[in-house]
């Protein structure tokens, strides 16, 4: 993928994340009003297509944005060769996606 397409992906993933982060912060405050328990959270999220979609999208955006952000930092600070850098970026994105989707599945399924 060209550098400029990666740049576009990072900007789009940031645009996706911005409202999701705001909503996530608001939800956290709302959700703990009556105390915080696993049972209470799971009662809202389990079997919910919408919460699965919401946090699934969040995780996808974070994985893309985080991996590409690390790519920029590592390029500038550690000066890895492009092939190593690109492999690392792909791996970092995959790890974030796997961990994130596992967490989403744990609360939705």
């Amino acid at each position: 993928m060209t550098e400029v397409r990666l740049y576009v992906l990072q900007r789009i993933s940031a645009m996706v994340m911005a409202p999701l982060v705001m909503a996530h912060l608001a939800l956290m405050i709302y959700a703990i009003q009556g105390g915080l328990s696993a049972a209470e959270i799971l009662s809202r999220t389990q079997g919910s297509f919408w919460w699965g979609g919401y946090y699934g999208l969040f995780v996808a955006a974070v994985s893309i944005h985080g991996a590409l952000g690390l790519r920029v930092i590592i390029r500038e600070e550690l000066k890895w060769p492009d092939a190593v850098l690109n492999t690392f970026t792909f791996g970092a994105g995959l790890v974030l996606l796997t961990l994130g989707l596992r967490a989403v599945m744990a609360v939705v399924l």
Binding site: V4, R5, R75, E77
Partner: protein, 242 residues
């Protein structure tokens, strides 16, 4: 010219690419004295082997830039009063460029990047065609005019932290020039130049820290030019052209 009794304490970096150190000189302080006057005094009266580069002495040629008390400056138009710290001046070669000797840098890297950025005019007409009208109120021409007074002094290049971190980054000057050409109605490079400025080390590497804008002696805003290139590159990428 009225002489100020006080001397300036001037530390000048002297050396080759392999080794070097600061050497101290006492230079008489004078009215309306520029940094170039100071290094010229050192060369004429104290250290004939001191190397530095200058030509026009009026801020047009872009050859006399140096680091003065840690900041990149065009030395012929920088008064001592503006840059001095008490009575101390520390003068070093431009940051981010290889040193040839003393205050003279190797500018090849800087100009090679202009070439890589396709920062040259690609004509679209020949001598038999009519002259392209250049209307000053055309929006693209306004963008081009905003960035066109660059004198290639490399002050922005020395001020840029991304240049320091990423040797492949094209730098503010080359990208600013590319932006003015992208907005030149007579130029025909189009997507070829956009591809050149959006590859590895291209416009998208800029973090918009605005060091270039802060120190540009001609008060240009390369960060704004680079932002314009980013917009152009993103539009082209979304159309599938990049």
């Amino acid at each position: 010219m009225r002489m100020d009794p006080k001397n300036l304490k001037v530390s000048i970096w002297r050396g080759t690419p392999d080794e070097g150190a600061y050497t101290d000189y006492a230079v008489p302080r004078k009215k309306s004295q520029t940094i170039l006057d100071v290094v010229s005094f050192v060369q004429r009266y104290l250290e004939p082997s001191l190397s530095f580069r200058f030509a026009c002495r009026v801020g047009m040629c872009g050859s006399c830039a140096m680091m003065v008390n840690g900041k990149p400056r065009w030395t012929c138009r920088t008064h001592v009063e503006k840059a001095v710290d008490g009575d101390k001046l520390v003068i070093a070669p431009l940051r981010n460029l290889p040193i040839i000797k003393d205050l003279a840098c190797d500018m090849d890297v800087f100009f090679d990047k202009w070439t890589r950025a396709e920062a040259r005019f690609y004509p679209t007409k020949n001598r038999d065609d009519d002259i392209e009208p250049v209307l000053p109120d055309n929006p693209a021409r306004i963008y081009a005019s905003q960035g066109i007074e660059c004198i290639n002094c490399a002050v922005c290049y020395a001020a840029c932290d991304v240049v320091e971190k990423d040797p492949r980054y094209l730098g503010p000057a080359a990208l600013n020039r590319a932006w003015t050409l992208m907005n030149d109605e007579r130029d025909g490079a189009g997507i070829k130049r956009l591809r050149a400025v959006s590859g590895t080390g291209g416009c998208q590497s800029c973090h918009s820290q605005q060091g270039c804008m802060t120190y540009c002696p001609n008060e240009l805003n390369p960060t704004l030019s680079i932002a314009g290139l980013k917009r152009m590159a993103v539009k082209a990428a979304l159309k599938g052209e990049l």
